[in-house]
């Protein structure tokens, strides 16, 4: 090896050593551990932060859920509900368009007509969890009438307090919503009980919903009437007890059985005289000139129903003893009325006292046709003979009794919409014609209704 080669060899050997000398010093074991610990801590922090943020998001969501509100369109109305369930505002609507025709000849003028029978927007709801309110005027038939305006305190489940204007607890069919009755117009017993009155009422369900009770004090209104003010210092006291002994037992065939009695009592001095109407909504009963309500009025209304699957049976009787006066003659006169109804849902849906919800709402493309119901009823109205004997009425103007039978078919397209067709026949007896021994002519009425209610 010459010197030149030796220098070349040495140069090759030194270069790697120089490179090695310039490279970073290898980490010690401890440094490596520290580095790893730092990285683990970083990852751990990231995990913890993510988890905590998830917790806070969940808390914020729960907070928002508690404090926010939900707007909804439900079968029972348009609702705005606070998420904590303490506040609710519900807007509902009830519109009924009727077509009344009276087939055949009659000596009494009966007018065929299409009319807005009811047009009732309803605003109801809850404030502060335990207080409900309800407001419902009616704009139907060309007039504006306040039907319901009340506040109800529901704090004690067995004793709810209601104050305002509402249905007093006497007649069974009266207490049933007009959207839920099987017929377009109500039967005779409802003519003898108050429609709406202003007062206070306590009600509740006890004995595991087997017994419901209601007691109240009211201003007092005419039979089938309503008022926004009292005409005297006197008050009407009303009470009702209704038993559904098998209600809690879902398997019992008698689950849908209910029966009870409603009553009212009070002085009727100065209260306007009532007006009694037929199924076709024609006044058939009138008082003689100079007659006034005076003395005492007592109503008694035993009542009951039975529902089982598609079948429904409904019956009530009402006795109303009304104090009447003409001149110096003052007597208590008894008015009596009863009715029995039967109904059957051809589509197999379930019938009840309250709103019917068809199993298959109207939607033909999906084989839904709603529910179809057939219904019949018969009923009777009468006044005691003393009404004429004491001169409170005239046999030439007023019948002593009326008897009706009504058949109908209802098509419930869904929970809100219903189309009904009823035919009613009302016979009269005991007067109402100028000729002695004659009777007011039979009234035949064909009623048809389109109805929306939610």
């Amino acid at each position: 090896m010459n010197y030149r080669n030796l220098w070349f060899f040495m140069a090759l050997s030194i270069r790697p050593l120089q490179i090695l000398a310039q490279a970073p010093e290898p980490q010690t074991q401890e440094q490596k551990i520290q580095e790893l610990e730092r990285k683990v801590e970083e990852i751990d922090q990231r995990e913890r932060v993510a988890e905590r943020n998830r917790e806070l998001e969940a808390e914020a969501a729960a907070d928002k859920a508690r404090s926010g509100s939900t707007v909804g369109a439900e079968p029972t109305g348009i609702t705005i509900r606070s998420n904590d369930q303490n506040f609710l505002l519900k807007i509902g609507l009830d519109i009924q368009i009727d077509n009344r025709t009276f087939p055949g000849e009659s000596s009494v003028p009966l007018t065929d007509q299409i009319l807005i029978r009811r047009a009732r927007p309803a605003v109801s709801g809850t404030v502060y969890k335990y207080v409900d309110f309800y407001l419902r005027p009616d704009f139907g038939q060309g007039s504006t009438v306040l039907y319901e305006a009340y506040i109800q305190l529901n704090y004690f489940s067995r004793a709810n307090l209601r104050v305002g204007k509402f249905k007093p607890p006497v007649g069974l069919e009266r207490l049933q919503s007009d959207d839920d009755t099987s017929f377009i117009e109500r039967g005779f017993p409802t003519l003898l009980v108050p429609s709406r009155d202003i007062g206070y009422q306590v009600s509740g369900d006890i004995v595991k919903r087997r017994v419901s009770y209601t007691v109240g004090v009211f201003n007092g209104v005419p039979d089938n009437g309503l008022s926004d003010a009292s005409v005297s210092d006197h008050r009407d006291y009303a009470a009702r007890i209704f038993l559904t002994p098998f209600l809690p037992d879902d398997s019992s065939p008698l689950k849908g059985l209910g029966f009870g009695i409603g009553a009212s009592s009070g002085n009727n001095d100065g209260i306007p005289l009532p007006s009694y109407k037929t199924f076709g909504q024609n006044t058939f009963f009138s008082f003689a000139s100079g007659v006034i309500a005076a003395g005492h009025r007592t109503r008694l209304a035993p009542q009951g129903y039975y529902y089982n699957g598609p079948f429904g049976l409904f019956a009530e009787y009402t006795l109303a003893e009304e104090g009447l006066q003409k001149g110096t003659v003052r007597r208590d006169i008894a008015f009596r009325a009863w009715q029995v109804q039967a109904s059957y849902l051809l589509t197999g849906d379930k019938k009840g006292f309250t709103t019917l919800s068809p199993n298959k709402p109207f939607d033909p493309k999906n084989h839904g046709w709603g529910a179809i119901e057939l219904a019949v009823r018969t009923g009777d109205f009468s006044v005691e003979r003393g009404f004429f004997d004491y001169g409170f009425g005239s046999v030439t103007a007023t019948p002593r009794h009326a008897k009706e039978w009504v058949g109908g078919v209802n098509w419930y397209l869904n929970r809100a919409i219903r189309i009904s067709l009823d035919y009613g026949n009302t016979n009269f007896g005991g007067g109402a014609t100028a000729a002695a021994g004659g009777n007011r002519p039979t009234e035949r009425a064909l009623l048809q209704r389109f109805q929306i209610n939610f």
Partner: protein
């Protein structure tokens, strides 16, 4: 029969009236901010004893706690507080303005602008202060994780935010842009925003998140006592803000409940020597000089600036920094 019913009715009414008027069943509701639970537990016990001795009547005080802003909102929405003891006067001003439940001059009805005690913002760090956090400047360094609640809902967080801003102003010759840049960098280091001070303490102490907690002074010492000196340390910065949490009787509800007199007495009790001692024991800086001197060793000396001094009062500070669209909304982006 009717007479008998009437008699029974009158008896019931009289009994009810007697019960209502019975001074031995007084109930007060104190709606307060997050970290005062322990303070008012002690105050309530002492005041009940004091009131019993003075009037013979029993008084029970219920407490409600949460972020100061949220608590004020609850009262505005109808929570019937007899007394509010909140983190900052702006929140009580809001109640006055929006619900008219107390007069606008509420702050002048008690001494020291109705702030019976003061506090400040300090740092709580992990044992040994591994990130070497000594002052505000250290909070904006990369890699430092800062825990503080959301100033939109927490009074303590608003004080902390303004303390940081004030520090930056003083350091940069009142340069607002530099102060905003400083606070922006600080909030970039905030990974979690709780709604209240107690929630942030939980995040830091229980969940083990973050290197430093911006804390009320009393909350920091409470955590120190609860967690132990082997877990956390309190770091007092060179400069911070003088926090003045106010108190007030909510006239509308106190009068409605027949509690006007006792509610006023309750707040006046906070200024008494006994009330001030209880405050000091709970790490609230007393107003009463005698008590402040007695507990001087509890409260490190540091330079304190007031909100009026640097921000022109709460109304201005709130509008500029914390109202919707304010500076905080611009500088803080969640998750970034």
């Amino acid at each position: 029969m009717m007479t008998r019913i009437l008699r029974i009715g009158w008896s019931l009414a009289a009994a009810t009236a007697m019960f209502a008027a019975n001074p031995s069943s007084i109930k007060l509701l104190n709606v307060s901010y997050d970290p005062t639970r322990e303070l008012y537990q002690d105050i309530n016990a002492a005041f009940a004893k004091h009131w019993k001795g003075k009037t013979g009547a029993d008084v029970t005080i219920s407490q409600s706690h949460g972020g100061s802003g949220k608590q004020a909102r609850a009262v505005i929405d109808g929570l019937q507080a007899d007394i509010v003891t909140l983190a900052l006067s702006y929140d009580i001003d809001s109640i006055s303005e929006r619900s008219r439940a107390l007069p606008a001059n509420w702050q002048s009805r008690l001494p020291n602008n109705s702030t019976p005690y003061t506090s400040t913002i300090v740092f709580l760090v992990r044992k040994g202060n591994p990130k070497h956090i000594k002052d505000w400047e250290d909070l904006v360094k990369p890699g430092i994780s800062v825990i503080t609640p959301n100033p939109k809902s927490s009074g303590g967080a608003r004080w902390a935010y303004l303390a940081a801003w004030g520090y930056a102003l003083k350091k940069n010759n009142n340069d607002e842009a530099k102060a905003q840049d400083f606070v922006t960098r600080l909030y970039k280091n905030v990974p979690v925003l709780d709604s209240g001070a107690r929630g942030s303490t939980t995040t830091f102490a229980q969940r083990g998140i973050g290197d430093v907690l911006l804390s009320w002074e009393n909350e920091a010492y409470l955590a120190l006592n609860e967690l132990g000196k082997d877990k956390v340390e309190v770091v007092v910065p060179t400069i911070s803000i003088l926090a003045e949490p106010p108190v007030a009787v909510v006239d509308k509800y106190a009068n409605k409940h027949g509690n006007g007199e006792v509610a006023k007495a309750y707040l006046e009790f906070l200024y008494t020597e006994e009330g001030q001692e209880i405050g000091a024991k709970n790490y609230y800086r007393p107003r009463l000089e005698k008590v402040a001197a007695k507990y001087a060793d509890r409260f490190p000396k540091l330079q304190l600036f007031t909100i009026d001094e640097l921000f022109g009062g709460w109304q201005k500070a709130q509008k500029k920094h914390f109202d919707d669209g304010g500076v905080f909304d611009k500088i803080y982006t969640p998750g970034k």
